[in-house]
Amino acid sequence: MKYLKNGFKLASIASLSLLLGACGEDKPDLTIMSFTDELQRPIDKFEELHDVNVELQIIPNESYRETLQPILESGEGAPDVFTGEIVFMQQWLDANYWEDLSSDPYNVDEWSDDYVDYVWDLGKDSDGNVRAVSWQVTPGGIYYRRSIAEEVLGTDDPKEVGDMMSTMEGLMDVGAKMSEAGYALFPDEGSISKFTSAFGANEEPWFDEETMELNMNEQRLSYFDYAKELRDNQYSALAPAWSPAWYQSFDGPIPYNLGWDELEDAEGESTIEVFGVALPTWALDAVFKQEASENAGDWAVTNGPTSYFEGGTWLGVYEGSENKDLAFEFVKMMTHDEEFLTEWVDETGDVLSYSPVTDKVKEDISDDFLGGQNHYEFFLDEADTIDASTVTPYDQQLNDLFGTQVGLYVDGEITKEEGIQAFYDEVNNSFPEIITPDN
């Protein structure tokens, strides 16, 4: 009997030690999870300031949500502070993963006047409590090549070029002029969607969060027609967003294959140069300066037909954190610390949401990459016109489903009616609670 007991004990100890083998390391004072390494420098500073040990765990963007959500759901191995992206953030806000920062002892509602409205509002859950705060704004515009604007439009001034593109018709006129002169307006048709259905671009939300009715308005539908127009009139260079050709198109002419038959006269080789592209604040560094800097100094940024935003990182304190005070200190430094944020602007050029700092720095900023333009003021003005109430929790997913159908329509695989119907079917299947107009 004793023998047996020992056998069992041994076996269970063996299996337990297997399970627990990974535990028992030194625990840091604070664990932070995010999808980029950009928080590392603030963390270094924070460690110095408070004499603590902070661990940053980076989970790649592609699997961030899928990895972190089960952790937050179960609470096992959860961080003290974590970031969220606009793509899924509103869903997380209502799942109560982040601590309610409007309550005692945080009372962040006092801060609200210091922030750009849309960024502040998007950090609120559906009861209006702030759970996540962001240090940055990420509105978009149209980046364009000054030399091409000068040649075709007669001016390279961002204000004047922006006026020409301030309506959809105006934008298409510019497209026509570019085409005549042998340039492409945009690398791909997706650029146009920024002004029909992107975050904050549409005047009305994708669906009514009370009645759950899908709102397919004219502005959204126009994506079909404008995308087709772009393709048919060859205003785009057939370089899909984020593809190697897309990056290349910012550095110089790229090969262009549409209508191969016609090109045989041109000895089989033809190239086209791209005038501009619709991208947000962060693209200046992440796309242009890092990946396509061939034409540095020849770029400028201006407005399109509507304001919009893309991406953006919010952060907050995990609701089950054991070290909430320290965790909040970090959030505070990252979003509400004048000295730190002033340094942050100098180091990164990030467009901030915190007005005490932006008011101070915005007038003196100019970027050599953009030919000395003060993009800071431009982006802050754009950010001010964005209305957070048009953003729904599923904007990204709905835009993706919609964009897929537009892509098929532009390629001639389906008709517009088929595309709209297929989109409704997909929405019904993915979000059974949303009521589509065909029902």
Partner: protein, 303 residues
């Protein structure tokens, strides 16, 4: 005393059993429980509503689910058929005792190489090759005059499914080749020699000796490939950014499951799809086992 000894072996398998129960059996039952709720994957399972068999009712009338089964099978069958033909052909050539080809080790490594590359890298490689305007495939086909206009491979349902089948073939034919070659090499030489003496030609040898002898191996290849095929996920996911486009033609069962669970927050329904997949796997397994069993009965009767 005797009873105690009988218990002893269990102590020794306990480590495995405990891990198995926690990481395999428990999730299976938990998934079943999820499938009976409208759990969104967020806000805690306690806040989800128990909705009985509603998800299952939805599943059996869900056109997208059937479409995903069809997609998975089309892509698998396409890939498997081509891959089996190539692998079998190569195995026959390399094992032919009259040809006596040299460099088997080298070719074996070469054929197997694509299988070592991670799916993520493969998908990047092929998305570059298949790119509509700048991909090398279209460039090549147009240079040699087969195409007048570039084909947007990944934006047409038939081409997209075909492309994935081809990529799967490329990745897996080496593996299948090695297994089939081992099977053919294991055939008793006496049988082959006897066939030479009897004056059998190449086709007769293949038809009456090689094929019956490697039948169990073929079955093994088929089962493992089918199981892998039903779980096809990474390649369509990475090639299409998770959308399963064009027109849902690359939306495999597991991709559909994944999107419903994680992208659209229908965790309960995603769990139901998992059980649907489980059910499909059971059906296929039964078919395969029946086929095996039927053969055994026949052989028994002959004796």
């Amino acid at each position: 005393m005797l009873r105690q000894r009988k218990l002893q072996p269990y102590a020794f398998i306990a480590p495995f059993l405990i891990v198995f129960l926690i990481f395999n059996i428990y999730p299976i039952f938990l998934t079943f429980y999820f499938s009976l709720t409208n759990y969104s994957g967020m806000g805690g399972i306690d806040n989800a509503t128990f909705i009985g068999l509603d998800n299952y009712r939805r599943l059996i009338t869900d056109g997208y689910f059937y479409k995903s089964i069809l997609n998975t099978i089309i892509i698998w069958v396409g890939g498997f058929a081509v891959q089996l033909l190539i692998a079998l052909g190569l195995a026959l050539v390399f094992s032919d005792i009259q040809l006596k080809l040299k460099g088997l080790g080298f070719f074996r490594t070469l054929f197997y190489l694509p299988n070592i590359v991670t799916v993520a890298s493969v998908s990047i490689l092929f998305s570059l090759i298949l790119d509509w305007n700048y991909g090398s495939l279209n460039q090549l086909l147009m240079q040699i005059g087969i195409l007048n206009q570039p084909i947007n491979w990944l934006n047409n349902p038939a081409y997209a499914q075909g492309s994935v089948s081809v990529i799967n073939t490329w990745m897996w034919f080496g593996q299948t080749f090695i297994i089939l070659y081992a099977g053919i090499a294991g055939i008793d030489n006496d049988l082959l020699e006897a066939s030479f003496i009897d004056g059998a030609n190449w086709w007769q040898r293949f038809r009456y000796i090689t094929l019956p002898q490697i039948k169990p191996i073929m079955l093994y290849v088929m089962i493992t490939s089918l199981i892998g095929g039903l779980q096809m996920f990474e390649l369509p996911q990475l090639l299409t950014d998770g959308t399963g486009s064009p027109q849902g033609s690359l939306r495999t069962i597991v991709l559909y499951l994944y999107n419903q669970s994680f992208l659209y927050n229908n965790f309960g329904y995603g769990s139901t799809i998992a059980y649907g997949l489980f059910f499909i796997t059971v059906i296929f397994s039964i078919i395969i086992f029946k086929t095996m069993y039927a053969d055994q009965v026949k052989e028994g009767e002959r004796r």
